[in-house]
Amino acid sequence: MKRAIKKVAVLGSGVMGSAIAAHFANVGCKVLLLDIVPDEAKESTKKQERNAIVNGHLKASIKSKPAPLYSSKFASRIETGNFTDDMSKIAKYDWIIEVVIERLDIKKIIFEQVEKFRTPGTLITSNTSGIPIHLMLDGRSDDFKAHFCGTHFFNPPRYLKLFEIIPTPETKPEVVAFLMDYGKKILGKTTVLCKDTPAFIANRIGVFAIMALFHSVKELGLTVDEVDKLTGPVLGRPKSATFRTADVVGLDTLVLVANGLKDNTPNDEANALFTLPDYVGKMIDNKWLGSKTKQGFYKKVKDENGKSQILSLNLDTLEYEPKKRVKFPTLEMTKPITDLSKRMGILFGGKDKAGEFYRSVFGSLFAYVTNRIPEISDEVYRMDDALRAGFGWQQGPFEAWDAIGLDKALKVMEAAGKKPAAWIYEMKEAGFDSFYKVENGKRLYYDIPTKSYLEIPGQEKTLSLALLRDEHTLWKNNDCSIIDLGDGVINLEFHSKMNTIGGEVIAGINKAIDMAEADYSALVISNEGENFSAGANVGMIFMMAVEQEYDELDFAIRSFQNTVMRIRYSSIPVIVAPHGMALGGGCEISMHADKVIAHAETYIGLVEFGVGLIPGGGGSKEFALRLSDELHDGDIRTNQFRNRFLTVGQAKVATSAYEGFELGYLRPGIDEVIVSRDFHLAYAKQSALLMAEKGYTQPSQRTDIKVMGQEAMGLVYSGANSMMSGNYMSKHDEVISIKLGSVLAGGDLSEITEVSEQYLLDLERKAFLELCTERKTLERIQSIVTKGKILRN
């Protein structure tokens, strides 16, 4: 029988418990969150007092940043209670998740209580980062054991993609399969099946990598600044790289895991590495634990002028010193190369200290991961999945090795005496020189026992542009490509810098619509960059405005407007599937889709105000149109007007796709949210196909948009003046506000009037161009282009 999860009970409301509860609420579950009754309320009969701990934890969690909930409204899906009064309720819950303190004895006490009330057949999991799962089975019933599994969410669970699943020998295969699928599809995670080994996969390898660096940094004579520069974005890893990550995680937490590994992996050939280097011990003694104690490897101080400055720790003297500019010839060489795999080859072969560093670090890492098979995983891809999802690496160790080249790395490792496992040589002898390959849009991995390539499971229902790009690209220019998704659906992907929208992207969208109208059923606009789009290419706008080429600028804006209008008004359905940031022009493109399929983590917004402009690519028009559509007879329309006005006027960006609906960027009943990024493209394609198959006709342009004219303008002028007079915005903000207001109001018409989309597009373009002649607007654009900073002038 199919297992359905409607109600989830989370036992333990600490940082992880509350955040896990929030994420289940995010995906629509009804959640029961329990914790202990505070000592002082043991005798109390008041619910409020008895639930003080759980309520306090949940409240703090909901308020924390980044927010654990997609929308604060989802908090109502979480009910709170305590172990004493409410444990019996778990009888009606489909999945019980234990997240109490990391102590086996306490977990066991909780499990005993769970046994009393749990309905046989329901799921029971324990979330832990370090306690061996099999130790938890002691004294449990057979039904409990069969439905029991370890899990490991990474903190914060909403944002970190990794979900490790650790069955015991007694866990039913159906339960494991269910969790793997649920984690991926419903919770939107990368689910990785782990063995019950110390720290599972991601932390075993990740902490090894950090500890190896901790030990080698002094041997190689490198500084904290240098290592972070070398191990950050250049390797496709987070900006926080190594030491800054340690500061964020907390050195004490890291040390706890490292000590655990040292004690529990006596046979690990690298066990010695888990012993802390001297300077880490001293840092712990000094309580230099990182962000939580305000200093770690880095320390933020204020100089005499009150300016913040970041100092970094000199590991020899243990003194904080000003950060130094890091320069290595090898890094300079890779600067123009955007493809990480190509970069890896150059980095590994570098002739300077940086190259030496990479050869040492990767040599150790590669040797280590080969020796962890089959100890912690039987397959290479599970390790890569875990590191990518858990540590934010763009490439896991085996993928990095593929990028460098099997032989090239092997030679370096042998020369340095680093011993990979025997199966590497067997693989090489059998004639294989890569861990992965792509065939027919599917990814295959090298399977060690069978010495052959096998398809990575779980790809039956997913689509990935990365895997289709080589064989199915139909057309491309510098900034975008059209890729055939099959079944008559094509996809336009941007690949410009930060996926900004300039002339080539505009050309690409038009080309894709032309092609789809001629030969295909539907078009999807999506990409697999870090963000969907950072917006229009403001650098280009800046150049034209500075040169006072207003005719060209007018032409460019008009062309952008015409293009977004074609997205809505073409003979084929167009689905836009944004993820990450979808700002400015990226938002406008989304707002003109027939349907948006937004990833839950979509940060959408019209942010033009920040650069001294108003949305000029149909965004202002669309807000006026939606305002008109959302008004009902008797509504206080000026208030609705104000809400729409403020959303753009304050450049509000949604912190999730659900908030995108609340802010009016997405349309209820039309646009949709999907939590799983893995299924995102496949679902967008399916949606496009369904619309085509239902029978799609090109909609007619709207001519019935009710604008308020002077009635709204009174509010705009007085509101903007009050904000300016109260020092909440600058004089120039007032100027921009009035421009925005007059577009949304449809100008100074005497009465409510029905206007066309083109009327509004002309108004917004005119206002946009007028702002481009303002010196202060140009200063704002210049600031964002040259410094990446919002200027408030």
Binding site: G714, Y717, S722, S725, G726, N727
Partner: protein, 391 residues
């Protein structure tokens, strides 16, 4: 013909939003106050009342549909007495008393109920559908400024510091706390019955009844230090905070005015009369200084010098404007707001004029004084003042 105040009563003042009157509609509250007021004049035949004049600063929504008439119907149990609603924002409650007195002076009436009511709980400041004139907004935007901005402009122009405002606010709280705790207002307050219908934890309908009879705005434990930590709310770089501005409130207050003829008919005892009432216009941008011109105007009309006034109720819309008024008029601060003001006790806009009238009458009774003045600044650049003469 003179007009005599024979009874003056008010409700306690509740905090808006989460206060004790959030379940009470303004018409119901006003009717309860008037019913209590009528008990003071047992011989009055209600059908002899000529009009009910109700001040209200936001006459819409719950306060719309000519709430004055609704109140007369609800309070008097007769359909023979009419009702009218009057709006001059914050002086509405004394404006109505002046209008009632004027009718009696002119021989057009013998008995009037006048006062004001405001519940700010259900209605946003400025009303539900703010629709300023686009032309004015463009050319004279400060005419539409929120009151907070005008308070900042006053602070700036009259050099009223943040420290002075917080100090003033602290003393308002201190005096009000003492007055509330010692029951000094009790004699002027009509207790109001409140009924709340709600769903309990189990979702079951429940009814709760309570009596509201004590002003709830005072913040015990207020310190200058605490006030100094609050952030400005109207101007990011300003000095006006939630702590040194008046509170939004719910309340109702009314008086009964009679001609001499009516006094004889009912045998009622006159308590006081409104000796004068004057209003002035000032720059809307610095609305808060309205009393500076209104105070001498009203004193002069009553044939008095400002120095003759023994007690003042100066509505504390904001500490900044109260201090500017004291500074510019030179009146002795010791006889102003002796029981605290709107910063501590609340400011139910359209009710305030009548509420302060009730308060000053009760206080002058205790102090056995003759001349008192109620004064306030009024939105969009106005000031109002009335002299109360005790009999």
């Amino acid at each position: 013909m003179d007009a005599y105040i024979v009874a003056a009563k008010r409700s306690a003042v509740g905090k808006s939003g989460k206060g004790m009157f959030r379940f009470t509609r303004p018409d119901d509250m006003a009717a309860q106050v008037i019913k209590g007021l009528l008990k003071e004049v047992p011989n009055l035949d209600v059908t002899r009342i000529d009009d009910v004049i109700v001040g209200n600063a936001t006459p819409e929504a719950e306060q719309g549909l000519n709430i004055g008439r609704m109140i007369s119907l609800l309070a008097l149990d007769t359909d023979k007495v009419p009702g009218v609603t009057v709006n001059r924002y914050c002086s509405s409650g004394i404006q109505t008393i002046a209008m009632g007195a004027q009718q009696i002076h002119a021989g057009m009436a013998d008995c009037i109920i006048a006062g004001g009511v405001e519940t700010m709980s259900p209605i946003p400041f400025g009303g539900w559908r703010l629709t300023p004139n686009a032309k004015i907004s463009k050319e004279n935007p400060e005419w539409y400024w929120g009151m907070g901005l005008t308070a900042e402009a006053v602070a700036h122009q009259f050099k009223i510091t943040r420290e002075a405002q917080d100090e003033f606010a602290y003393h308002s709280q201190r005096k009000a706390l003492e007055a509330v705790e010692s029951g000094r207002f009790k004699s002027g307050i009509i207790p109001i019955d409140v009924e709340q219908v709600y769903l309990d934890e189990a979702g079951k309908r429940q009814v709760r009844n309570y009596i509201a009879d004590t002003d709830e705005g005072v913040r015990k434990g207020t310190t200058v230090e605490g006030l100094s930590r609050l952030r400005p709310v109207f101007d990011a770089k300003g000095t006006v905070t939630a702590g040194n501005a008046s509170q939004t409130s719910d309340g109702a207050a009314f008086v009964i005015l009679m001609s001499e003829k009516m006094l004889k008919e009912t045998g009622a005892t006159p308590i006081a009369k409104l000796a004068s009432y004057g209003v002035v216009g000032v720059e809307p941008r610095i609305m808060g200084i309205g009393p500076v011109d209104a105070i001498p105007k009203a004193a002069k009309m009553a044939g008095l010098k400002v120095d003759d006034i023994e007690l003042f109720e100066l509505n504390e819309a904001f500490a900044s404007q109260s201090l500017a008024v004291l500074q510019e008029t030179g009146i002795n601060p010791d006889i102003v707001n002796v029981n605290g003001g709107a910063i501590a006790l609340g400011h139910p806009l359209g009710c305030t004029g009548a509420k302060l009238t009730v308060q000053i009458i009760e206080e002058m009774k205790i102090r056995q004084q003759k001349y008192g003045m109620v004064t306030m600044c009024v939105g969009t650049g106005q000031g109002a003042a009335g002299v109360i003469e005790m009999l």
